[in-house]
Symmetry: C2
Subunit: 338 residues, 2 copies
Amino acid sequence: MGEKHGDQTYLFTNPPSLIGARSVVGPREAAGPLGQYFDLKINDPLFGERTAEKAERRFLVEACNATLEGTGVAGGDIDFLLAGDLLNQIISASFTARELKIPFLGLYGACSTVAEASALAGFLLDGGFGSNVLVGVSSHYQTAERQYRYPIELNLKHKLSAQYTVTGAGAFLYAKAGAGPYLTGVTVGKIVDYQIKDPNDMGAAMAPAAADTILQHLEDTGREPNYYDLILTGDLGKVGMQLTSALLEQCGVSLGSIYQDGGAMMFGGDPAQGAGGSGCACSAVITAGYVLKEMAAGKFKRALIVGTGSLHSPLTWQQGESIPGIAHAFVLERQGAA
Amino acid sequence: MGEKHGDQTYLFTNPPSLIGARSVVGPREAAGPLGQYFDLKINDPLFGERTAEKAERRFLVEACNATLEGTGVAGGDIDFLLAGDLLNQIISASFTARELKIPFLGLYGACSTVAEASALAGFLLDGGFGSNVLVGVSSHYQTAERQYRYPIELNLKHKLSAQYTVTGAGAFLYAKAGAGPYLTGVTVGKIVDYQIKDPNDMGAAMAPAAADTILQHLEDTGREPNYYDLILTGDLGKVGMQLTSALLEQCGVSLGSIYQDGGAMMFGGDPAQGAGGSGCACSAVITAGYVLKEMAAGKFKRALIVGTGSLHSPLTWQQGESIPGIAHAFVLERQGAA
């Protein structure tokens, strides 16, 4: 049974243990500077399937199955699958749930989904409901591009502020007990909307939510930023990361070198990928790959992972609406970090 | 802290109290046989807005605000908003969350969303996380029709097995304590897919999941159906309801007159609305309207509400996939029902 701190943060009494995680990525992600960290690198973005949508769900199924294999926990021992993706009606998640046959709760938080799912996994396990919760999210450049923007066959040049959807999937198995790292707390975000209307500048739309959730987390917990050795926003990209830093500085909070952004890192700053990576898979594969492996290697002891989502649709944009942003944060701490 | 029973069911130790609920419906729903039960009846399906999508979210905002007004609980006292709808990227829920400024977790369970959200509300409150959880879902005939099927201007005749999306929204305020009715338990469903491929026959696609979850609930709890005086599937319609009864009979379970279906009831069997109502709002407004009011009047003491979702998209149908069905169940019991 967790304890509420301040307005939006919960610290867990019996922190769930992250007993397994796997990242599966496509070739462009594998060729990026974080390539060494990913578990499975698939050369064919279509993963042998006939359509990009079928490929995306194959990435997700693979990530989930690889996670279970790595832990030796069987599908039948999982109490909940919490999953989501960017596609209309979260079909990648639902069709993956059909294959895995695990009680399924579908989520939509755009690129923040892995953080939303991790928060719920924490609530379920610390609340005493079940023993194992599997979290899985996916995204795919081709499926997102044709759903949100234009057919990829047009080969349009991306604006420098635009983000490039990560092809891949990440899965995480949280358990009631284990050797860590531990999910010690979460901050659930509110919508923040600074009236950004350009879907080619989602970093700017999400940055205010990221800053809001980070500030709320620090206020709710009474922690200084240096409680953490990593504060990672998942998928803001270069523009959103700069804006988040600027917004935090305005509030007197300077994160310095402990602040990193998954989107900005993913493609190594290549302008062909605009401002960097986005998509549900971005923060997920960076957490399952980079963060957890560097945590195991001793580089990080305590990480605050902030997933950010831009909750618009092509239709809301067409109807003149701005882009509501949201950010949820979760804390991973190594055994002995305290 | 709840207790797990069997494979998929959780009974709560400190059952949350449903301290408020409101149903808001459009004119066709108000004119149906359940019209007397609904709280707010809006004559204009566009609710004074310029587009159907903006109207749908106005229904949802109204339902949420009316629920809070009825209880005297302020938005700032709500720990979580759990909301979802049928639209791509659940824009009705996200834009409602922007207006309400409550920490927001977006869900997608198609027409089962109110049951999914109620289950999560139960886990959060019984788990000790927060004091008040607001659940809200919506659907709209015009938005669903043009997203899933054809422009409504074509005025196509519906197949008799097709369902007619309910225009409206329902909201529910669950609290840690109160005078009931109480949310005493939930059963979280798995995907069941009998390879139905016709989106004009969603009742048939969802019936196997409904039967599966009802059977699982009875097995997990060791209860006979007559523990309940109402078992209500939310939105199967006439075809799905008959198939669910038949599937249950095959397994030796006969529900008899305690079994009702919200979709079959909604429009009074008018063939102009095919097999009956569907959409996230269907089970929500029938629960907030009919079930809770008849419970307050003493007709029902214990109700098992089963929300059913068909987790396809137009794209999965175009790509030749069948329709994965899911059903989640939650139990409402009056004070003194035990």
